[in-house]
């Protein structure tokens, strides 16, 4: 009994550094910011952060009734609903091709597809602006060969968001592809052979054997991609600044703007709204994709 207590004490001492750091630098700020979201704290209160008024749920009500915030929420939903499935589909297709189709230069393709993930967003933005430029841009030049008069992609209310989604898919599918590839390589060849013997065609084997076996991988990639896309921020910041007419403004970016204006109470409430949405969506993903 005594030795057990001593072990417990030793364990506490060993975890103490972590616990202290966690409380001071993770839990503390998180709880602090959560508390902030119920007050009217502004920039000028920073020197006396406790001398603020509690305003209950006012910030949340204000955020949810803000027309621009709702627009940003709609844009974020648009980005996620179209972007996540598209990214996963492209990633899975690339992974299957690399796993089954391309035997030579496989490493080269892997690096090529993964490169955008590790490239600086600023460099990517510069290139994509060239691609999407209205008159001499690569995309519109190519469309011109087929007699199509391409729009001014980033300046069009309709096309700015699809342009950003295309860019995000291109930029992000590499990470999901690598994980799918690992998942595919973990499926023994005998599974497919068995399917082949039972007379299943390639599509049937993919749909009824490979995809179910990939379920944990799909769950993982859809959760990580989903969380990343719900917080999407860099793309509009560097490409469109949220324009034209707020059609690419995301929740994260609007929250960031509110922080910039010094409205800390309102901004933290927006951040927590996003947090709750992310938690709920992740929960739903776990429910839908769990092992049956």
């Amino acid at each position: 009994m005594r030795s057990l207590r001593r072990e417990t004490a030793a364990a506490w001492i060993l975890v103490l550094p972590f616990v202290v750091l966690f409380l001071a630098f993770t839990a503390g700020p998180v709880l602090g910011s959560f508390g902030m979201s119920f007050t009217d704290i502004k920039q000028r209160d920073l020197r006396t952060p406790f001398a603020v008024e509690g305003v209950g749920l006012d910030n949340y009500v204000k955020a949810l009734s803000d027309e621009t915030f709702r627009k940003a929420a709609f844009n974020t939903a648009y980005f996620v609903v179209v972007g996540v499935p598209l990214t996963l589909a492209v990633a899975l297709a690339a992974a299957v091709l690399l796993d089954r189709g391309i035997k030579r230069f496989q490493a080269l393709f892997k690096v090529g597809y993964y490169l955008p993930v590790v490239t600086s967003i600023v460099a990517i933005a510069v290139i994509w602006r060239f691609v999407l430029a209205p008159d001499a841009g690569l995309l519109n030049t190519v469309l011109g060969w087929f007699g199509i008069d391409g729009p001014n992609w980033l300046a069009s209310k309709t096309w700015a968001m699809p342009s950003l989604i295309a860019m995000a898919v291109w930029r992000n599918f590499g990470s999901a592809m690598i994980i799918f590839l690992a998942g595919l390589q973990g499926i023994p060849a005998t599974v497919e052979e068995a399917g082949q013997i039972d007379g299943a065609g390639p599509w049937q084997r993919f749909r009824y054997l490979i995809v179910p076996l990939l379920r944990p991988t799909i769950l993982f990639t859809s959760v990580t991609t989903g969380i990343g896309y719900l917080q999407f921020f860099e793309e509009p910041l560097v490409m469109t600044q949220g324009g034209p007419l707020n059609s690419t403004l995301s929740v994260s970016m609007y929250t960031y703007q509110q922080f910039g204006f010094g409205n800390y109470g309102l901004a933290t409430s927006m951040a927590y709204i996003l947090f709750v949405v992310i938690a709920v969506i992740t929960f739903i993903q776990f429910r839908l994709l769990r092992e049956k």
Partner: protein, 430 residues
């Protein structure tokens, strides 16, 4: 599936948070006592400055300032001025952090639109009596005033005028620049019809900072951003609508376009695609850089055309002393020296920043320039937005509505109303 224990934890967590929120709400703001206006606490003696001074300055000013302060050190033996250059995009954050942490320099260059905010945070030292404020352009001096108290001095200024291509204007049959609104539009139209321009004039169709292009027209029509006491916004007035209407008419009549790629004004000017635009003094240099010597003689500028008045926007930077400085006396002496006419002229030669002191414009390097005197004339009546705490936020809302007006055809009446509604809900912050 929420298990029993999870639910238990959620309940406890919720209770803790509620308690924390209640505890926080218990703190409360201290009742704001009717403060008397801040008073200047320092007076400037005539003896030389002593001691060390630290100064923050942004961008190229931060890089060039040490060259100037060397002269100050020479004139005030025993003084050492350390200049820390700060990049513009990090500056605002650095200042607010430093104000919170009380780790400020003695003096600094600050953007004119930050004055309200910093004064509100109680960071700035009111200007003492020894500084001659009558020597500055009145519009620029206004940017240093928050609730009628002056903080610091205008250091350098810029204002917006109309740029045009002289050769293309001649082709369009225009020999003297227009002076009224109808004239400006007719000139832009002629550029399009006779001089082969795609758009007569390049106007910003919304987006960041477009209020700086719109407000001059509204001011010229007699509009004001706030009431005289800076307490209420007056953005939905007939004068404001008139300015917006005129601005929008360029887009509806296709004299200005919404489809030009942004930030390429210089290139569009040089190519003749859009041979007119409204901007500040730095553009002459960047056009010459892009178009070479050939374009230089063809750059023309004229004052904003008149409606009731010809009132442009005045920007630039101010120089302030912080309340927390331990060497306020030395810092104010530096400020006084910087706003001397001769120092200002020297600074122009070092930096090409336009002097805020009117006397410095008599210096031959400015007076004999082909373009600059027009800016000097425009500066005499130019205006700045009021130094209110929430101005940046109001300006963002303003830019959004201007974009709706230029691109989506929102009527000027609705635009004025929307700007007023948004601005009122943001509040002046005081």
């Amino acid at each position: 599936m929420i298990t029993q224990s999870t639910r238990g934890r959620l309940v406890t967590g919720g209770a803790v948070l509620t308690a924390a929120a209640l505890a926080l709400s218990g703190c409360g703001r201290s009742e704001e006592s009717p403060e008397s206006a801040p008073q200047a606490s320092t007076s400037i003696g005539s003896d030389p400055a002593t001691g060390n001074l630290t100064v923050w300055a942004m961008g190229t000013e931060g890089e060039n300032l040490p060259k100037l302060t060397k002269e100050f050190e020479a004139a005030n033996p025993g003084t050492k001025v350390t200049v820390t250059p700060i990049p513009w995009d990090a500056a605002h954050n650095k200042f607010t952090t430093a104000i919170t942490a009380q780790s400020l320099p003695d003096a600094a260059m600050v953007g004119t639109t930050w004055m309200g905010e910093f004064a509100d945070l109680g960071a700035l030292d009111p200007t003492p009596a020894g500084i001659d404020t009558s020597s500055f352009f009145p519009g620029a001096l206004d940017t240093t005033k928050v609730k009628d108290v002056g903080y610091g001095v205008p250091w350098y200024v810029e204002t917006r005028v109309v740029y045009y291509r002289k050769d293309l204007a001649a082709k369009a049959g225009i020999t003297t620049p227009p002076t009224d609104w109808d004239g400006l539009k007719a000139m832009a139209k002629a550029m399009q019809d006779k001089a082969g321009a795609k758009y007569g004039i390049n106007l910003q169709p919304g987006g960041q900072g477009s209020w700086q292009s719109v407000m001059p027209f509204a001011w010229s029509a007699g509009a004001n951003i706030t009431s005289d006491d800076d307490k209420e916004f007056t953005l939905d007035t007939p004068e404001m609508q008139e300015g917006l209407k005129y601005y929008q008419s360029f887009f509806t009549e296709k004299i200005a376009g919404t489809d030009l790629p942004p930030n390429q004004t210089e290139a569009q000017f040089v190519s003749g695609q859009a041979p007119m635009f409204i901007s500040g003094p730095w553009m002459a240099g960047s056009i010459a850089k892009l178009g070479g010597d050939k374009i230089k003689p063809n750059i023309g500028v004229f004052e904003l055309p008149k409606n009731k008045t010809s009132t442009s926007f005045v920007g630039g930077s101010n120089f302030v002393v912080f309340k927390a400085s331990k060497n306020k006396d030395g810092a104010w002496k530096l400020v006084k020296w910087l706003s001397d006419g001769k120092t200002q002229a020297d600074w122009f030669k070092l930096s090409t920043d336009l002097p805020a002191v009117q006397a410095a414009w008599k210096d031959p390097s400015i007076a004999n320039d082909p373009l600059l005197p027009v800016f000097g004339k425009q500066l005499e009546t130019a205006k700045a937005p009021p130094a209110i705490v929430n101005w940046e936020q109001v300006a963002t809302a303003f830019d959004t509505e201007v974009e709706k007006m230029a691109k989506a055809g929102q009527s000027p009446e609705e635009t004025a109303k929307a700007i007023q509604t948004k601005a009122s809900s943001i509040g002046t912050g005081s």
